[in-house]
């Protein structure tokens, strides 16, 4: 099985066998029928003659089928749905603590500092006595919110600019030059600069990430549009008088959905990573606000003590589950959404 030749011939053989089987089965099916029944002309049915062939192809159905066909992706989709749902349901559950309250021991009145995970505090408490379980989920909410906002902006703005860039020929030179200049500036640098200048906060981070993230998206959309724009089927559509809006939504967008979703799925982990980084530099969110960046940073400060390492590991684990699931789901969905993969 180790060589190329083997691979080719075995494939050929199996397809030949399949072909043979088909013939045999057709023969088996009809061989018992009496002679005259086999050769009777069919009745003419006018209503049946009216029925033309049509394709019951539905874009989203085909996408869904292709996606669910991939078991790993379906599994990670389930993971991400459960985690997301839990993140938002968690504060509504009974007996949940607040993310910001500092808890005191009921007997001594001293803050419960650095309590190991136990049945009362599932993820333990942090160095000033806050419940890490509540903080982790509150932080996940904050970070996912940031990521989602950035992803939506990227998808929306990037797509619109990309479509303009690709479709309006006069704008092409301008946008291309613009891209060539600004693509040279690393996003991290912009992020640092904006966070340094503006007041630290959720809006600042979202603004800084939105400022540059759409460039790559717009670029890709533009390339796709330029490639697809003048293909025969679009030319045919245009000749038949299809409106530009319909061409864009029906002919172009299906090709772009895969890219847009992939970028959106990857923008969320990226935003979380950037938030962790800015927080580390000290220009991220205010420290009392629960966010994955703040939690990882707080955990980092105590990580040299092995018994306090849980403060780093719990937020990191949640973060890793979310980012890995999003990465795999995003990639698989992008493939499922690509119409090229719908033809089997």
């Amino acid at each position: 099985m180790n060589s190329f030749a083997d691979l080719g011939s075995s494939k050929l053989e199996s397809s030949l066998n399949d072909e043979l089987k088909k013939h045999v089965s057709a023969y088996d099916k009809y061989k018992d029928l009496p002679e005259d029944e086999l050769f009777t002309p069919a009745e003419f049915d006018s209503s049946e003659a009216e029925m033309g062939g049509y394709s019951n192809y539905s874009y989203w159905k085909a996408t869904l089928r292709a996606f669910l066909h991939n078991k790993t992706a379906a599994f990670f989709l389930a993971v991400i749905v459960i985690v997301l749902a839990f993140t938002f349901i968690q504060p509504l559950l009974p007996n949940q603590r607040s993310a910001k309250t500092i808890y005191n021991d009921s007997e001594t009145g001293i803050q419960i500092v650095n309590r190991q995970p136990d049945s009362e505090f599932w993820f333990g408490t942090n160095s000033i006595g806050q419940d890490l379980w509540a903080r982790t989920w509150a932080g996940t909410r904050t970070s996912l919110g940031i990521g989602f906002a950035v992803a939506c902006w990227e998808a929306l703005f990037g797509t619109v600019i990309g479509l303009l860039w690709g479709y309006v020929r006069k704008l092409d030179t301008f946008f291309t030059e613009f891209y060539n200049i600004f693509d040279n500036v690393p996003q991290t640098l912009v992020l640092i600069l904006i966070s340094y200048i503006m007041k630290p906060g959720v809006n600042t981070i979202i603004f800084a990430l939105c400022l540059t993230g759409w460039l790559g998206m717009a670029r890709f959309i533009r390339n796709q549009v330029v490639i697809i724009r003048d293909r025969d089927y679009n030319l045919a559509s245009r000749c038949l008088g299809t409106s530009t809006g319909r061409i864009i939504t029906k002919n172009l967008l299906p090709y772009l959905v895969s890219v847009i979703t992939l970028r959106m799925a990857l923008a969320i982990p990226e935003a979380i990573g950037n938030e962790v980084f800015v927080t580390y530099i000290g220009i991220g969110l205010p420290t009392d606000m629960a966010s994955l960046g703040n939690l990882v940073q707080a955990g980092r400060l105590v990580m040299s003590q092995p018994e306090l390492r849980y403060q780093l590991l719990f937020p990191t684990a949640v973060l890793a589950v979310i980012t890995i699931s999003l990465y795999i789901v995003g990639n698989s969905f992008a493939d499922a959404a690509d119409p090229k993969n719908h033809v089997d």
């Binding site: 030749a5 040279n184 600069l193 200048i197 890709f220 390339n223 962790v276 580390y280 990191t316 698989s332």
Partner: protein, 345 residues
């Protein structure tokens, strides 16, 4: 899992195309292309510096003073005037360009008051460059064999390397680098018994930061090499070579690998950028006395002029880094036809 990764690779190829440059290389000769590209970079650099300066003028003014709290309003105004910060922006930008051409990056305010920024940076830069280059080299040394092993193992029964590599790729690409750097520092120093902090004389402490910096690039190169090799291995001439009875080793080493490695050059600019930005975090994590750690420190103590100098310098390096990468690509990529050299492709 493997099917997923196979598809992941597929889509990331699409993503990476985003950064591929889009000059009409086909018609240009290489020299023309390069000179055009250099001109582009110069213009880019000027515009970027103007924008960076305009933004930096919005910095909190506390960052220009060593003892802001104790100063009266008039004192503050006088100092700002002395620094030239009350002038209109175009004047300031013009002055800054003149300064830059003289190699003057201003003087530090808090980090080392009154000391020239250029001197501070010059002391720190060599170590950063050294570490950056070593990590790029390590990325190639480890990434290429990994990619090749992955590609080869797609034809074997257990696909061990392919499975291993794909899991690694997903993990490294999906988890934010800011997080896995931390985990590498934590567990790396514990398992191998080396210090968490960098020390110049002790080479054992160089391993973890350099490995952290190169990990992203290792999987990046492995991913692309695997992809290109698998594509190459499916081509007809390889099948012919097989049919002729050329040995497997020769096919993989001489035909597949050599052809697949050429398009890999286009990912070098990206990996340079990645190393550059990674170094900001890694250097300050391990307290490496380099440029990246310096920027983080300058931001923490709010030394405006030093931040300014470093941001301008970093944008210059990234522009130059991308330029070099693109030039390298133009030279190496055989698909650009020039002066009658055998255009085998």
């Amino acid at each position: 899992m493997r099917a997923v990764i196979e598809k992941c690779n597929n889509s990331s190829k699409r993503l990476a195309e985003i950064r591929s440059i889009n000059f009409s290389k086909g018609q240009d000769t290489v020299t023309k292309y390069i000179s055009k590209r250099i001109l582009h970079s110069l213009i880019t650099l000027c515009i970027v510096i103007v924008i960076v300066l305009a933004l930096l003028r919005q910095m909190p003014i506390e960052g220009y003073f060593n003892n802001f709290d104790k100063m009266s309003q008039t004192q503050i105004n006088v100092t700002l005037k002395q620094l030239g910060l009350k002038d209109p922006l175009p004047v300031q930008v013009g002055r800054y360009f003149v300064q830059l051409l003289h190699g003057d990056f201003g003087t530090s305010i808090k980090y080392r008051a009154g000391y020239s920024n250029a001197k501070i940076i010059a002391q720190k830069a060599p170590l950063s460059i050294e570490i950056g280059l070593i990590s790029l080299a390590i990325a190639l040394i480890l990434g290429l064999p990994l990619g090749a092993a992955m590609a080869r193992s797609t034809r074997s029964k257990f696909k061990f390397w392919d499975r291993f590599g794909t899991v690694l790729i997903v993990i490294v690409q999906a988890i934010p680098s800011a997080v896995y750097y931390l985990l590498i520092q934590l567990y790396g120093s514990e398992w191998f018994g080396v210090s968490m902090l960098f020390s110049r004389s002790n080479y054992a402490t160089w391993i973890l930061p350099i490995f952290s910096l190169s990990l992203g690039n290792i999987v990046y190169y492995a991913m692309w090499l695997r992809r290109f090799m698998v594509d190459e291995a499916n081509k007809d001439y390889i099948k012919l070579a097989c049919a002729k009875g050329v040995s497997q080793k020769k096919i993989w080493d001489r035909h597949v690998f050599r052809n697949a490695i050429v398009p890999l050059v286009q990912y070098i600019p990206n990996s340079i950028l990645f190393t550059l930005m990674g170094s900001l975090y890694v250097e300050s994590l391990y307290s490496i006395p380099g440029m990246g750690g310096l920027l983080v420190q300058a931001i923490k103590i709010q030394d405006n002029t030093l931040v300014e100098a470093l941001v301008v310098l970093y944008s210059m390096i990234s522009v130059v880094g991308l330029l070099l990468g693109d030039i390298l690509m133009a030279i190496f990529d055989p698909r650009i036809s020039f002066t009658g050299k055998e255009g085998a492709r």
